[in-house]
């Protein structure tokens, strides 16, 4: 490295750059899948630009204009009255429902994930938590802990693999269109995600505190309550707020299934062909998502600063 011209040294550096066969193969495979998709899919560009589709689009753009103003000159006062009436009649209530569903769902998910992350953490759900395995522990005991750990991890994977919308669709048949359906569907999916993140956080705990408490005879429950919870809480809260943002988005959309969040009125406007109201409610959805993002990033910023 020390000998040779600058060009030669750069050559050596280039050859010594970190390379990983698996990552390269994955990048190549990912690119291949994406290119192949365009060939394999049934994508009909000519249909998209056909006269029928263009007529649809023209009709849509016309219908988006607030209906009191259709066929007359644009008038801001009229548009304002129209928006205010829609907001007062349905928008405000639907926004409150949407937010309420997201808050309850993420809180439920957070509580459930607190419980589930413990038995799925490799260093906690084991015969000797936070310690090197001692020789001579019974095989049955080790097997038992492995079984607990693996089944919780499996349950968490299954929970987060089912998309919220799909879960809500299935739960709808059982509970009917009450807000609980949306709350439970969101809670299950997010508990799966938060549980995994929580388990990872426990596994990566930097301090020696759990090991010390264990060495003086602390039980697992004491470790969880007196060491893990206080030490990892800021991190877990970061994840909690980050997932709450997605919950706000999703609870809007779950209304499409018939639960009275914003999505319900979006679907209602679509089936009635009220395109102006459709776009208005979608815009309210944008507002609520932006408000949620701002609140969440404020909370996360506070947490980071306190840390």
């Amino acid at each position: 490295m020390k000998e040779g011209t600058a060009g030669e040294r750069i050559e050596v550096l280039w050859q010594e750059r970190p390379r990983d066969r698996f990552v390269r193969a994955s990048l190549l495979a990912g690119a291949t899948v994406m290119v192949a998709a365009w060939g394999l899919g049934d994508f009909d560009w000519s249909d998209l630009f056909s006269a029928r589709r263009q007529a649809n689009l023209a009709r849509f753009l016309e219908g988006v204009r607030p209906h009191p103003l259709q066929g007359v000159a644009w008038d801001w006062g009229g548009a304002w009255t129209w928006a205010r009436d829609l907001f007062a009649a349905r928008g405000a209530g639907a926004m409150a429902t949407t937010l309420g569903i997201s808050v309850l769902a993420i809180s439920l998910a957070g509580l459930v994930s607190l419980v589930l992350s413990l038995p799925s953490a490799r260093n906690f759900a084991t015969v000797d938590p936070f310690a090197a395995p001692r020789p001579g522990t019974s095989r049955g005991l080790r097997f038992g802990w492995a079984l607990i750990r693996r089944s919780t991890r499996g349950a968490l994977i299954a929970m987060r693999s089912i998309p919220e919308y799909l879960a809500a669709f299935l739960l709808l048949a059982i509970f009917g269109p009450t807000p609980w359906t949306a709350v439970l569907a969101l809670a299950v999916h997010n508990a799966g995600i938060l549980g995994r993140l929580g388990a990872e956080t426990i596994e990566n705990i930097p301090s020696r505190a759990p090991a010390s408490l264990r060495a003086i005879g602390g039980r697992r429950s004491q470790l969880a309550v007196w060491v893990l919870l206080p030490e990892l809480l800021p991190r877990l809260l970061l994840y909690f707020f980050y997932r709450w943002e997605t919950c706000v988005r999703e609870s809007t959309v779950l209304g499409l299934l018939g639960i009275v969040s914003l999505g319900f009125w979006i679907d209602d406007a679509r089936t009635r062909g009220h395109l102006d109201a459709l776009v208005f409610y979608v815009a309210l959805g944008v507002v609520i998502v932006i408000v949620g993002d701002l609140m969440s990033s404020l909370a996360r910023e506070l947490l980071r600063r306190a840390d």
């Binding site: 998209l48 693999s161 807000p179 609980w180 999703e250 947490l303």
Partner: protein, 294 residues
């Protein structure tokens, strides 16, 4: 600061405030939704449906359960395979568009490649461009990103269905727009948060802002960008499956049809197909992330 010199966290900690407001928010939400625990008790019809549905979890259908199967209908497993393939195809096609959008908008929304330039570049036509057009481009791109990612992919799908009607390209755009917005946001944040020391040395050697961006900032952010890209690929497959509920030929379409026809065995077949696809993508992207971020 405590007297003994050990720094104590502020007495009423941020966590206490956040958790208290969380509890208050829950109470408010409970009231706003008018919830009662009695709503959690399923109707007797719902309960028996749940029993019949979950009873099939361990015996998914291998053949069509429809009473009347029209001639020429492919076997159920072939349908499930085709639906899984379509889920992958729509997701991957959308992901490729989202990556293009994300990289382009992420670049346009980042100020790192023009804002830190020295005084010498403030003069002339280029300097004028820098002062007027580039901040405008940056602000406009950021606004565009917010709108793109604040509308959920299913709402984009509703809008596209209302605007043009059912066409697979509508599904691709519906997925690509919000995913492109999220990728643009995260990519530009990753570049902004990338370690700066190589950028500073390149700047010291007289490199332009654009050169610094491409040769010092992007390479440092690249592992995180790759990791995040693979994570989003996993997410887009789930979203692509759900788009089937709106009539696109992905797994959601078949899940809805079989469920509405009360062929619960078939529902489980499609659910397991989705599970296999998602868990495989999860394992793949997890392995890539672990190696890239190590």
């Amino acid at each position: 600061m405590a007297a003994d010199g050990i720094r104590t966290p502020n007495p009423v900690g941020v966590r206490v405030i956040l958790i208290t407001s969380g509890v208050v928010a829950c109470a408010l939400a409970w009231g706003a939704l008018g919830l009662g625990l009695s709503d959690l008790v399923p109707t007797s019809g719902g309960l028996s449906l749940a029993g019949r549905f979950f009873a099939r979890a361990f015996s998914p259908a291998w053949q069509s359960e429809a009473r009347f199967v029209p001639d020429g209908t492919p076997p159920l497993l072939e349908v499930a395979f085709e639906a899984t393939l379509q889920t992958l195809i729509l997701g991957a096609a959308a992901m490729s568009l989202a990556l293009v959008l994300g990289l382009a908008l992420g670049f346009a929304a980042s100020s790192a490649w023009w804002s830190g330039a020295g005084p010498e570049s403030r003069r002339g036509v280029y300097g004028m461009l820098r002062r007027s057009f580039l901040p405008f481009l940056c602000g406009a791109s950021r606004l565009l990103i917010v709108v793109m990612r604040s509308v959920h992919e299913l709402l984009w799908a509703v809008l596209f269905l209302a605007a043009v009607g059912l066409n697979d390209l509508a599904a691709v755009f519906a997925l690509a727009i919000p995913y492109g917005g999220v990728l643009a946001k995260i990519f530009s944040e990753l570049v902004d948060e990338a370690p700066r020391e190589s950028a500073r040395s390149l700047r010291g050697l007289g490199a332009s802002g654009l050169q610094t961006y491409w040769f010092a900032l992007i390479p440092r952010a690249l592992p995180d960008m790759v990791a995040y890209g693979f994570y989003r690929f996993e997410c887009i497959l789930r979203s692509s499956a759900v788009l089937g509920f709106f009539g696109f030929p992905t797994l959601g379409l078949y899940i809805r049809q079989s469920f509405n026809a009360t062929n619960y065995g078939e529902v489980w077949t499609f659910l397991y197909a989705l599970l296999i696809l998602v868990v495989a993508a999860d394992a793949w992207s997890g392995a890539v992330r672990k190696r890239v971020l190590a």
